[in-house]
Symmetry: C2
Subunit: 225 residues, 2 copies
DNA sequence: CGATCAATTGAGCCGTCTCAATTTGGGTGG
DNA sequence: CCACCCAAATTGAGACGGCTCAATTGATCG
């Protein structure tokens, strides 16, 4: 059931069949490739089938803030829905594949698919929640808490995908993690080293082993996220 | 034209007349009063007619992050639209008055009012932009830049309302400003003093006079916002 | 007019950034 | 296949910014 990757969750089998109509279109994105740019017309949303993607916003001065790292099964382009314009850039961290869901096609199918509406709402809700969480983190958490929360979040999302929550490969650089968390790359690197020294994780370049999940949770202050 | 305060912008006179149907309902909110709470069912959006309101989110640990300060003419409750649930608290900073626009009533009128849809989209777009800006600020700006940007933003919005952009009264405490900007109240207070010492502003409790707008803009790094 | 809360200001410390040197790993071309 | 090169990551030293704790002054409201 490949489509499960594109728009999963609470749908009947018939609904899923109808969904197939929408997600025929696929797209391969090479590492570093851009799926869409801030300001582009937003005429579709995208399901990430494989690989990983970052989204980032850019202000007039070229200042960049990464707003999210997407994993397979997650949906992007939702933030542009309101405006008909993308509000962020989407860039592949590695060779990736997305499926494209055109808005006009979706509008046609929508009346027959109430579950689609519900699904979409749930996704946007999650999106808003994410951005709020990031706000809270940047506003009030200390660096170690931010990184701990970051690792736990990643671990949890990978587990949902069927991967081990205890060992994974970071798809993003220290600099990108730092930007996302509002820290410098050196601070991120130091924290990785410190966490390792304290026996919380084992880290070797981008390969991470979580040794003490509970310890990380305690550190992050907030229970998971 | 009182309604201009509730949902202004690009509508024909006839459209505005129809809008009147929606915004009959008014509500007075005392200082410190709560308009809605995180988790409440979101069955309406609100136009702020007078006063000022803050919105804040709260995580499981009770950690609070203020996400915005609303001025008259601005609309709140939009972030709850997707989810049917409010995702933030809305609390009055002073005695305020809002008009209530019930969603079900709006849905009935929507087909006859395409401009309403457009208007709503524009507002949500602005909302998302705001949250992104805050993200950028918390992630990458230094304290002085944050406060400068904050003052300029306020100044600009007040000017739109017809007030002087050069002198205004802060409706929020130093602590609330600090929370919003990811700083402590002491740092905010010190910055106010420093700005005053440097001749950028004159400040006396919550009364602010901007003396050197260009200087503030230079400080904030980003041109206005 | 006292009580209370908000704001200011100071001193000292801790955390994070900056700048810089070094190591590691991956990719490319000889 | 190896040597080289470049980007990413690590680690250190030092400076600075913002936080914490604490005392004082200044408003506001019963």
């Amino acid at each position: 059931m490949l489509n499960a990757i594109c728009l999963p969750l609470g749908m009947t089998r018939q609904d899923v069949a109808k969904m197939d109509e929408l997600i025929k279109e696929r797209f391969r994105l090479p590492k570093g490739g851009t799926l869409y740019r801030q300001g582009d017309v937003a005429d579709a949303i995208y399901g990430l089938r494989s690989g990983s993607i970052k989204t980032q916003i850019e202000d007039a001065n070229g200042q960049v803030q990464i707003t999210g790292f997407l994993l397979p099964g997650e949906v992007l382009g939702l933030d542009g829905l309101m405006t008909d314009q993308q509000v962020s850039h989407a860039i592949a961290l590695e060779d990736s594949e997305v499926c494209i869901i055109r808005l006009d096609e979706m509008d046609q199918l929508a009346p027959q698919l109430p579950s689609l509406q519900r699904q979409l709402r749930r996704l946007m809700s999650k999106e808003i929640g994410r951005s709020h969480q990031l706000l809270l983190a940047l506003g009030s958490l200390r660096s170690e808490q931010r990184l701990a929360a970051f690792l736990l979040n990643l671990s949890q999302r990978l587990q949902v995908l069927g991967y081990s929550p205890y060992e994974f490969i970071l798809r993003m650089s220290r600099e990108e993690i730092g930007n996302f968390l509002g820290l410098t790359l050196e601070t991120v690197s130091r924290l990785f080293s410190r966490f390792a020294r304290e026996g919380l994780i084992r880290v070797q370049q981008r390969e991470v082993h979580i040794l003490d999940m509970a310890g990380l949770q305690a550190l992050s202050g907030t229970d998971c996220s």
